[in-house]
Symmetry: C2
Subunit: 408 residues, 2 copies
C-alpha cells in the first residue's frame, strides 16, 4: 500500500501577492511539457489515502480490497462526544466542501476513485471520480470544477464578455489554467491572439491528463501560455490598450478586499484594454454577503469609466448553486452587456471544442443580468451613489450586501 | 432527558393516491384550530434527540448541558470499516438531505436547535433552527423550505401564473399548506376568492406556530382552507370553469409518472379552469433527468390546448440549487407566460405580507423562461413532436431528459 499525503503549499496566496516584476516564460502549445513537476504522482490503480489536513480534504478510499484507511476519521470516531460544534464534518468515502463564507452548510460528493493527488510549489491538487458529477478537480481542498457542470461556468464567463463586443481580436485570460475558457474563446473566429497567464504549469499538466475535453483549449494554435503571475504579466508587458477582452478566472476572489479587486490591479487591467474593451471577473454568488458588490460596482465604474454590470449563472456543484460575474467596459465605444451583439452562430465551427455549446445561448446571456429584487436593489443603490460621486457630491459607497435583506 | 422519536407515517404517499370521493371540510381562517393533533409536541427548550430512522433525518443535538446523545451515530462509529459504500452519510449535529434522484451527493445543514418534532396521521415533521438558513421545515425527512430562501420559490410559483393573466379573480392552491403562496396571492388585489386544499391540518398549525411570516397568508380573509386532498376536492366540487389560476405545490412530484402528472389529474385541473386559465406546478430542477420534461410538455399541450412553458428559479437549499415550474394555459384567450401583463406594482398594498417582494420582479419573470441550451433543446424537440402530433402524424413523445446531455 502506498499512502500519498498532500503537502500544504502556503505559497498559494503568496504568489498572487508577489508584485515583483519577474521574467515571464512563454510556452507555445507545441512545446513539450516537463513531467518533473510531478513529485508525488500516484499509480492510478493504487491504494490511496487522503489525509484530513488543513486543506479540508476529507475523502478516504481504498480500491483494491475494499478495506478502509481512515486516517483522521478513525481518530475522530473516538472524539464524537466532543464534536457537537464540529465546523468541518467529514465522512469516509465522501469529499466535503464547506463554504467558508457561509458556514453551517456543507456539500458532500461521493468519491468513487481518487485518480490523482499531488502538490506543486504553489498548491495541492486532487482529481477524483465522483458518482454524481463525473471527474472533479480539487485545489487546496476547494472544489474547482466538475465535468457535469463546468459548461455553465466556462461558457458564461467567456461568452458574456466576447459576445458583448464586435469582433474581439486579442484576448487575455488570467488564471483559468484548466483550459475550459480557452476552449470557449476558441469558438470565436474573429480572435487572432489568446494569451493565458497561469502560474502553475503542473495544474495545466494535470488537467491535460485527466480532463482532455476541458484542456483541449490548449490545442488552439492561437493560444500562448505564459507561466507567470497575471499581475506581474500585466506590469511587465506594459500592454497599454492591447486587449479587446480580459477574463480573470482566479482562485476564490470571495472578498471585496481580495487583491484582484484592489484598485491597483483593476487599473492595470483597464490600462491593458482597448477603448471599449471588456473585463469579466468572477464575483461570487448573489446569495452570499461576503463580496460587497455594491462597493465593487461603484469602484469599477470609477476605474473603467464605461459600463459595469453584474451577471450570474447556475453551477450546482458550487456553494448555493450560483456564481456571479462582474463585467466592465472601458471608456470608448459604449458596451451594452445585456445585449449580445456578437452572437455565436451554433452552426459555425466549434474551434477546438468537440461539442456545440451546452449552456450558453443569447437568451441566457440577456437573462443572466436580470437580478432578483434583493440583488437589484444593491445595483440600483450603487448606481445612485455612483451618480452622486460622478457629480462630485461625495465618494460614499454603499455597504449593503446581497445577504442583508435575508438576515433575520 | 426526553427523547422524541419520529414515527414514520407510511400514509404520506397513500393519501394522495386515494382517489375515493370524500367529504371535504372547509375551515375559514377565523375558526379556531384544534391542538389535539399534536401528539408529540416537545418542550421547546428540552433535550431532543432525533433518531436516524428511515426518514433520513440525521440531526442529533442536546442543548441543555452540551452533552451528546448520538443514538445511531454512536453505533455507526464502530461500523466505520464497513461504511465505504455508505449511501446516506450522517454527522451528529447536522441535518442531511440526500437527493434520491441524484445520488452521490448530500447537502448538510448545521442544526442549532430542534424546535419541533411530531407526526400527523399523514407524515412526520421537524422544525429546526439552522445556523445558515434560519428556521428549516422538514417533511418525512425531506427539506421543504428554509426562511433564508423561501422567498424565491413562493414568489416565483405564485407570480409567474398570476402576473401572466389579466385580473385573476378566483385562485385554487393545492398543497402549499405552509401559507407562503397564500401570502403571495394576497398581494393581488384583483383576487376575490382563494381556496386552498391541504390535507394535513397539523402541518398548517406547525407552520403557524414556527413560521408566522410565512403562515401569515392565512390571515387574508379571502382564504378558505379545505382540509382535504386536492384531487378529491376537484372531483367533488365539480368546479367546471371556475378558477382563473390553479397552483399545485405538492410534495416531491419528481418523476413524470407521479400521479400529479397523470392525465386524469391534469384533465381535472384543466376542467376546473376558465378558458385562458392557468396552472403552475413544480417540475424539478433542470439539472436532473428524473422528470421527462419533454414528455410532460407534450402531454400538457394535448390536455390544456393553450400555452405550455417551463420556467425555473434558484433555491440554494434545494438539491442542485434550482427548481423548475411547468406553466399551462387552457384553450381560450391566449396566454404568453413570458411577458407579465399583470405586473405587481411594488408601491401597491402588500396584502397580508409584511414586506415587499424579495425576489420576484418583471425582469426575473421573463428571464426565468430562458433555458440553458441543453434544456432548450428538450423544449424545442417536444414542440416539434407536439407539432407533428397535432398534425396527426403520430403520438411519439421525446424520451430525452435534461440530464442526457451531461451523462458521460
Amino acid at each position: 500500500m502506498q499512502a500519498y499525503q498532500i503537502q500544504m503549499a502556503d505559497t498559494k496566496r503568496t504568489h498572487v501577492q508577489t508584485k515583483l516584476k519577474m521574467e515571464t516564460t512563454t510556452i507555445h502549445v507545441s512545446t513539450s511539457i516537463s513531467m518533473d513537476l510531478y513529485p508525488k504522482f500516484p499509480k492510478e490503480d493504487g491504494v490511496l489515502v487522503v489525509c484530513n489536513g488543513e486543506n479540508g480534504v476529507s475523502a478516504a478510499h481504498q480500491f483494491s480490497d475494499h478495506h478502509h484507511h481512515l486516517l483522521s476519521d478513525s481518530t475522530d470516531s473516538a472524539d464524537h462526544d466532543h464534536d457537537h460544534d464540529l465546523k468541518h464534518p467529514r465522512i469516509p468515502g465522501w469529499f466535503a466542501e464547506h463554504c467558508p463564507i457561509w458556514p453551517g452548510q456543507a456539500h458532500f460528493l461521493k468519491v468513487e476513485k481518487i485518480l490523482f493527488q499531488g502538490s506543486s510549489k504553489y498548491q495541492s491538487m486532487m482529481v477524483f471520480q465522483s458518482s454524481a458529477y463525473g471527474k472533479v478537480f480539487v485545489l487546496d481542498g476547494a472544489l474547482q470544477l466538475t465535468e457535469k457542470d463546468e459548461c455553465s461556468y466556462q461558457e458564461m464567463m467567456t461568452h458574456l464578455p466576447l459576445c458583448s463586443i464586435p469582433n474581439p481580436n486579442k484576448v487575455l485570460l488570467i488564471g483559468g489554467g484548466d483550459g475550459g475558457i480557452l476552449r470557449e474563446i476558441s469558438r470565436h473566429s474573429s480572435v487572432e491572439q489568446i494569451d493565458i497567464c497561469e502560474i502553475d504549469s503542473m495544474l495545466v499538466d494535470v488537467y491535460k491528463r485527466f480532463f482532455p475535453d476541458i484542456a483541449v483549449g490548449y490545442d488552439d494554435p492561437r493560444v500562448s501560455l505564459h507561466v507567470t503571475d497575471g499581475i506581474a504579466f500585466l506590469e511587465c508587458s506594459n500592454a497599454v490598450g492591447n486587449y479587446d477582452a480580459i477574463i480573470v478566472d482566479a482562485f476564490d476572489p470571495i472578498r471585496h478586499d481580495h487583491e484582484l479587486f484592489e484598485t491597483s490591479f483593476l487599473e492595470l487591467v483597464a490600462k491593458a484594454l482597448i477603448p471599449g474593451g471588456v473585463l469579466c471577473i468572477q464575483a461570487e454568488s448573489i446569495w452570499f454577503g461576503s463580496l460587497d458588490i455594491g462597493m465593487l460596482v461603484t469602484k469599477c465604474r470609477q476605474i473603467f469609466r464605461g459600463s459595469v454590470e453584474y451577471a450570474w449563472t447556475i453551477v450546482p456543484a458550487y456553494p448555493s448553486g450560483v456564481i456571479g460575474f462582474l463585467l466592465c467596459s472601458t471608456e470608448g465605444p459604449p458596451v451594452n452587456f445585456k445585449i449580445p451583439i456578437n452572437a455565436i452562430d451554433p452552426n459555425e465551427s466549434y474551434g477546438v471544442a468537440k461539442t456545440p455549446l451546452k449552456f450558453y445561448n443569447s437568451e441566457v446571456h440577456s437573462a443572466s443580468f436580470c437580478l432578483p429584487s434583493f440583488a437589484k436593489k444593491i445595483m440600483i443603490d450603487s448606481q445612485l451613489i455612483n451618480g452622486r460621486t460622478m457629480n462630485g457630491v461625495g465618494t460614499t459607497t454603499t455597504t449593503m450586501s446581497f445577504s442583508s435583506l435575508h438576515d433575520k
